[in-house]
């Protein structure tokens, strides 16, 4: 039985991961902002088989509360084996371009709050010489593109940060897994027209849980995104700068 802390537990990807853990009878601690939504999910996970579910309603942008959340999760479950960091917002690129404030707020949510949490979790796991940290980054972080570079640059920071963290914690037996999902069909992306590249959140969640079990390093989900991003990264600037991507 695993003890799992899920940060951003109301995100569709996190919720589907939680459903898999619940079916396996694991213990879950859910942190997110929307209390009614958290309550609905917690009830659902109990029916699905979770041996215990505790919720914590918290705005993760309030970084002063991060320590308190980690302490509460440890107390509730008697320790934490896996942390899934999945909170975030899909920035509106166009309105970010017009507003410094909005741009910085997106960076705050999608990068800085994550960095704060990761630092605190890493230090605890390093001391315990055990634990698994899984973080949802994005293919958008692989190369900044005009259509969503604010979100992309925040995710780029998360990817680079976890890459370093993974090296640092290697000798302490702590696994750091960076997930780079491509397009996922969730309410957050409801406005996009869905084509062949879109994956269902339950399929994405299955791959994430497997990557955690196997203690992988960096994983594209679905895996073909590795090839897509390899091509995008290989395009020379002279050509890339003229593209609409």
């Amino acid at each position: 039985m695993k003890r799992v802390l899920i940060i951003g537990a109301t995100s569709a990807i996190a919720e589907h991961c939680a459903r898999i853990w619940a079916a396996g009878g694991d213990e879950l601690y859910l942190a997110a902002r929307n209390e009614a939504h958290l309550q609905t999910i917690a009830t659902d996970l109990k029916v699905r088989g979770a041996s215990s579910v505790v919720i914590n309603c918290v705005d993760l942008n309030d970084m002063d509360r991060h320590i308190e959340v980690l302490d509460a999760a440890e107390n509730a479950m008697g320790g934490v084996d896996i942390v899934l960091v999945a909170h975030g917002t899909l920035s509106n690129q166009k309105s970010c371009e017009r507003s410094v404030e909005e741009t910085l707020a997106e960076i705050q949510t999608n990068a800085l709050s994550t960095v704060s949490l990761l630092t605190l979790i890493a230090n605890r796991f390093e001391e315990e010489r055990d634990g698994t940290i899984c973080i949802i980054s994005s293919v958008a972080g692989d190369r900044g593109r005009a259509s969503n570079y604010v979100y992309g640059s925040a995710k780029a920071m998360v990817t680079a940060f976890t890459s370093g963290l993974r090296q640092r914690l290697y000798k302490s037996n702590v696994a750091v897994i960076t997930i780079k999902p491509g397009f996922v069909d969730t309410p957050m992306t409801a406005e996009f027209k869905k084509g062949m590249l879109w994956a269902k959140p339950n399929a994405v969640a299955e791959k994430i849980v497997k990557a955690i079990d196997a203690k992988k390093s960096e994983v594209y989900v679905p895996s073909f995104w590795w090839a897509v991003m390899a091509v995008i990264k290989a395009i020379p600037h002279k050509v890339f700068d003229t593209l609409k991507l």
Binding site: A23, A36, H37, T43, D44, V47, P187, M188, E191, K193
Partner: protein
């Protein structure tokens, strides 16, 4: 969030430009219902025609949470956007099954109620709605009210089978069926004509599950030859469920692939392959949901799509009438390889519920101009026999036919008026059938 796209039912016809609302919580659902203009709730989009098509549709599948499951009594409550497939993953290992299930697990709980679906056990268990003990329904005002056979009973009987036209089903409680094994004892009976098939249904009326594949292309002395599949829940065996992800058909097949030659060949092969009086022990999933192993099998009919025709004709003169109907279908040469025959039990109190005592026949027609003509003719014949067609499969029925064959439609409209549904909940189908 909202966005615009083209939607259609499972038959890919008709298509409609639509604005999709995708609430993921009670609060956003409430806000969506209160938006100006009319809308219809839509789950997995598995009804065949235009009953979940509208300019504005409310996607329910993000509200798909379990609420309560009592492993000892089989009382079960969940949000309406959950799929039957998802429900099965939780209940089967604990020794419970759906009291009634349609032929696919890819439908939502709300959709199953709105269509008042039936299954292979209709002659014994009735429809899905008959096992619903309580419903939470969001009315046009955003208010959520509880309804059951005892409480707001008029709304309950209008909503079960009501095609989403009374409000949005938020959650439902159903009484599950206890099982000891996730296996089915299946028995196959071959009937070489329609009379023999109907007789076999009669002889096996105490079998829990019974359904027949019927060869709608066979003529002459083979007319109506069928393979009956009976089933009983096994008493022994594991309680497990194996959910394979379906193999997807990523593109529309060239529609010429399904023609009278390939369909005749398929039907002939199916008939000859079946073994009379064969007994097998098979797992639940392939027994109840054989087509679920292929995602998007609807694409086999090509881009133009297909029409499904499902009718019921009364038991009186039912066999002779079924012979007339099958003769008409066989002459048209347009039937497909997915034809199903079943004997229905008694009708229920739900105002627009489809099943009535008699025989039901369901088959697909690849969409062509002549198929629409054939369907019109079949509809006319069925009405003449005192039968009717299933709203969940329908894409072309005339308003006059509907009103003549669903005598409780006026009572239904009065319930809609009482609960303020008129002008708020409507679909392309409800407009075609003359609902306000």
């Amino acid at each position: 969030m909202t966005f615009a796209t083209t939607i259609s039912g499972w038959g890919n016809y008709p298509q409609q430009e639509s604005q999709l609302l995708t609430p993921s919580s009670r609060a956003s659902l409430n806000a969506a219902v209160k938006l100006e203009g009319s809308l219809i709730a839509r789950g997995m989009g598995r009804s065949y025609g235009d009953s979940a098509n509208a300019h504005k549709v409310l996607i329910t599948t993000y509200c798909n949470h379990f609420i309560e499951f009592d492993k000892h009594t089989g009382k079960f409550t969940a949000e309406a956007g959950i799929t039957l497939r998802d429900i099965l993953t939780v209940i089967v290992p604990k020794g419970w099954f759906l009291p009634v299930t349609p032929g696919t697990s890819y439908v939502t709980l709300g959709g199953a109620i709105a269509s008042d679906v039936h299954g292979k056990n209709h002659h014994i268990a009735g429809t899905f709605g008959q096992h619903v003990t309580s419903l939470s329904i969001m009315l046009a005002t955003g208010e959520v009210i509880t309804s059951s056979k005892q409480q707001n009973a008029d709304l309950f009987h209008a909503t079960c089978g009501g095609m989403g036209l009374t409000g949005v089903i938020i959650s439902a409680t159903i009484q599950l069926l206890p099982i000891r094994s996730s296996f089915i004892n299946k028995q196959t009976i071959k009937a070489d004509c329609i009379e023999a098939a109907c007789e076999a249904f009669e002889d096996n009326s105490n079998a829990t599950y019974s359904v027949a594949w019927i060869d709608c292309l066979a003529k002459g002395r083979n007319l109506g030859r069928s393979v009956l599949m009976l089933g009983e829940h096994a008493e022994e065996g594991k309680l497990e469920i194996d959910l394979k992800e379906p193999v997807s058909i990523p593109f529309y097949a060239p529609s010429a692939l399904l023609n009278s030659v390939t369909m005749k060949t398929f039907n002939g092969a199916y008939w000859h392959k079946a073994k009379h009086k064969q007994s097998q022990i098979v797992p639940l999933m392939p027994y109840f949901y054989p087509l679920d192993v292929i995602g998007n099998w609807n694409k086999l009919y090509g881009k133009a799509g297909f029409l499904q025709f499902q009718c019921v004709i009364p038991k009186n003169d039912g066999i002779a009438n079924m012979r007339k109907l099958l003769t008409e279908i066989a002459e048209s040469g347009e039937g497909s390889f997915l034809a199903v025959l079943k004997q229905f039990g008694k009708a229920n109190d739900n105002l627009l519920s489809f099943p009535t005592e008699g025989y039901t026949l369901a088959l697909d027609f690849k969409l062509t101009a002549s198929a629409i003509t054939t369907l019109d003719r079949l509809e006319e014949i069925v009405v003449g026999m005192g039968g009717r067609v299933y709203l969940t499969k329908d894409a072309v029925m005339q308003e006059s036919t509907f009103k003549a064959t669903y005598p409780k439609c006026e009572a239904f409209e009065l319930v809609r008026e009482k609960y303020g549904a008129i002008g708020k909940f409507s679909s392309a189908q409800s407009k075609r059938l003359g609902f306000a």
